[in-house]
């Protein structure tokens, strides 16, 4: 029986982070993962992450995955793939299926970081081929380079539903609608706005009543429902689709912890059956830890911090790290974790209705219901940070109106134009005293794609708007297309006057359009003429 100081189950962001910290303290670490490739879901995350520098904000998920793998390798972590942990027994013995063989391993500490599984909802026709999990869509398009379908309806407006909808469009699929049973969009407004300005409608307080098709999905019917969850007659809408994507939450895969005899609690805020854990992830069994989604559904950034905390705690438990060093390093990580746990999307705020931002500004109801800011919202948010007498020359317009943990825009501007401050959930402010050079780094750094550079006086009667454009084909300078509003409505002709795609933008090309001056604060997206004709 092979022995290790630490066995980690699951090579996702939490497990790898834990293994790296522990191995760096001198522990002999084995990580088991049932998949053929390590990294968990990180390699499917092609969007830029939120947070601040210490959370690797504005770095795309798959790049973070590559860094973690390199660090694990350097630290001497042994990663076993296609290795399914089938059981945990007394005295930290685990049974692992590798190929056809069952093998016993023993450790002095164990960290369970098995992540979560997607939830499902049932409706008439839900078992038809073509009904898939949102994770399946991500796996197909981002790992295997294949479109999950041509026309897709997304159920679920949490961050997964929003992010995957955008990724579907990036992969060349059409998203016909985003549907959610909740009366409000669950994920970040900036994610919703990215989809809304492409013209995707949101149907809140709606759900799927039927998927059509005999051998596979050919269509879907949705309906609005009343407070008793009964469909309201006459509200049915039908869409011709070949794919229905379900993004209706995640549940911790905590079976191994239960099997090990850890005290479990049923906590809906953490996603279901989760172990009772200390702040470092230690369960009721000394030396057995849980990290990441398995101990409460969050996202990869906090999973990585949680993993590192458990790794350090495991090292200290066996004496590889002194108590004083442990306290010091855990305190730093706690600060990093706390900064992610602020604002209106904090784990403690789940399910609560937030009427005002931390700054006391009424939140946009349109953003929550339709996925975009109304013109009447702009006064409160956008113009507030843009009160300038000169009102001329290029300047950033930041449409970030919710307290989300993110601040790369602040570091991106070398001129000190943008201020978020110490609390990273604060809304960014624009310092009008600083001069914007139009470099566009803030646009590319904004993980929510909520920053635009506007020049009201680009030419007599015309304004220029620079926007992020992560789609193919990339527009060419000189071509003409359609300017779209925040809700994806065509506003008129837009001419491409500049396209920049610097390496520092990390695959977020900046496209500058010329529109009539009156559209300076309404045009927010560009649609090539070819796409308009196809529809």
């Amino acid at each position: 029986m092979k022995r290790y100081d630490l066995i980690v189950v699951g090579a996702g962001p939490a497990g790898l982070s834990a293994a790296i910290e522990a191995a760096r303290c001198g522990m002999k670490v084995a990580v088991f993962d049932e998949n053929a490739k390590p990294g968990g879901q990180l390699f499917k995350q092609i969007h830029k992450f939120f947070g601040s520098k210490e959370h690797q904000a504005k770095i795309r998920g798959y790049k973070i995955g590559e860094t973690l793998l390199a660090e694990a390798d350097e630290a001497g972590v042994e990663v076993f793939l296609n290795a399914t942990v089938a059981g945990i027994y007394l005295d930290k013995e685990v049974l692992v299926q590798i190929g056809e063989a069952m093998t016993h391993f023993k450790a002095d500490t164990i960290i369970i970081s098995t992540g979560a599984a997607e939830n499902m909802v049932t409706f008439d026709g839900w078992t038809l081929p073509g009904v898939i999990g949102a994770g399946a869509a991500q796996t197909m398009m981002n790992l295997h380079g294949i479109k999950p379908g041509q026309r897709v309806l997304m159920l679920g407006s949490g961050n997964v539903g929003l992010v995957v909808s955008f990724q579907l469009m990036q992969a060349g699929c059409e998203v016909v609608a985003l549907v959610d049973a909740a009366p409000r969009i669950g994920g970040y407004g900036v994610h919703a706005a990215k989809i809304a300005r492409c013209g995707v409608p949101f149907y809140l307080s709606h759900t799927i009543t039927k998927a059509d098709g005999t051998d596979c999905v050919t269509g879907v019917t949705i309906a609005e429902f009343d407070e008793h969850f009964a469909p309201i007659p006459g509200t049915q809408k039908h869409f011709d689709v070949d794919t229905i994507c379900l993004a209706v939450g995640l549940s911790p895969m905590s079976q191994l912890l239960k099997m090990a005899g850890c005290t479990m609690v049923d906590d809906p805020k953490r996603g279901g059956q989760v172990p009772l854990v200390s702040e470092n992830g230690e369960t009721s069994i000394p030396g057995l830890f849980a990290a990441g989604d398995v101990s409460g559904i969050e996202e990869a950034s906090s999973a990585m911090i949680g993993g590192r905390m458990s790794g350090l705690a495991a090292a200290a438990y066996l004496g590889f790290l002194s108590e004083s060093d442990k306290e010091k390093r855990l305190a730093d990580l706690e600060v990093a974790l706390n900064s992610l746990h602020q604002g209106m999307f904090a784990p403690g705020s789940k399910g609560k209705t937030v009427a005002k931002t931390d700054e006391g500004i009424a939140v946009s109801q349109s953003l929550l219901k339709k996925g975009y800011l109304e013109d009447t919202d702009l006064e409160r948010f956008v113009h507030r940070s843009n009160q300038t007498d000169k009102n001329s020359g290029i300047h950033p317009v930041i449409e970030c109106t919710q307290n989300i943990p993110c601040n790369p825009c602040q570091d991106a501007c070398t001129k000190g134009c943008i201020k978020v401050g110490k609390t990273i959930t604060a809304l960014p402010q624009i310092d009008d005293a600083s001069s914007c050079t139009g470099c566009g780094m803030c646009i590319a750094a904004c993980s929510g794609q909520a920053i635009f550079l506007v020049d009201e006086d680009y030419a007599p009667g015309f304004a220029s708007i620079t926007l992020p454009y992560e789609f193919l084909p990339l527009p060419q300078k000189g071509e003409q297309g359609t300017a779209l509003s925040r809700s994806g409505q065509p506003l008129g002709i837009a001419e491409i006057i500049d396209v920049r795609n610097a390496k520092a933008f990390d695959h977020t090309p900046l496209v500058t359009i010329k529109v009539p001056a009156g559209q300076a604060m309404t045009a927010r997206f560009y649609q090539p003429t070819t796409q308009a004709m196809e529809q």
Partner: protein, 106 residues
């Protein structure tokens, strides 16, 4: 075309060698090493199996080897999770009917 030829973030997908395999006896092509389910999807195959009792169609659902909806008979072995089993040149893949192969008229 279901395959993504160029992606704004990921560029051109990295693929193995183009190989042929058999789906219910018919020759098809896919890339070696990609999941069997991906090669089938590219070829337009949606139904992977029919359920035992109700004879209902099933296809890809989770794509990460958890749900077992996409199982098929591969080289004579039933219940193979095609979403996580790499494609190999010459593989014989069959639609599963319950736990046996679906009878296909040639």
């Amino acid at each position: 075309m279901k395959r993504i030829s160029d992606h704004p973030i990921l560029g051109e997908p990295e693929k193995g060698q183009l190989v042929s395999f058999f789906m219910d006896g018919k020759p098809m092509e896919g890339f070696a090493g990609e999941p069997i389910a991906v090669a089938l999807k590219a070829a337009g195959v949606m139904v992977h199996r029919y359920t035992h009792k109700a004879h209902e169609p099933r296809g890809i659902f989770c794509a990460i080897g958890r749900c077992t909806d996409c199982v098929m008979i591969v080289d004579g072995v039933p219940n193979i999770r095609t979403c996580i089993t790499p494609l190999v040149s010459g593989m014989r893949v069959q639609t599963q009917d319950g736990v046996t192969a679906l009878e296909v008229s040639e």
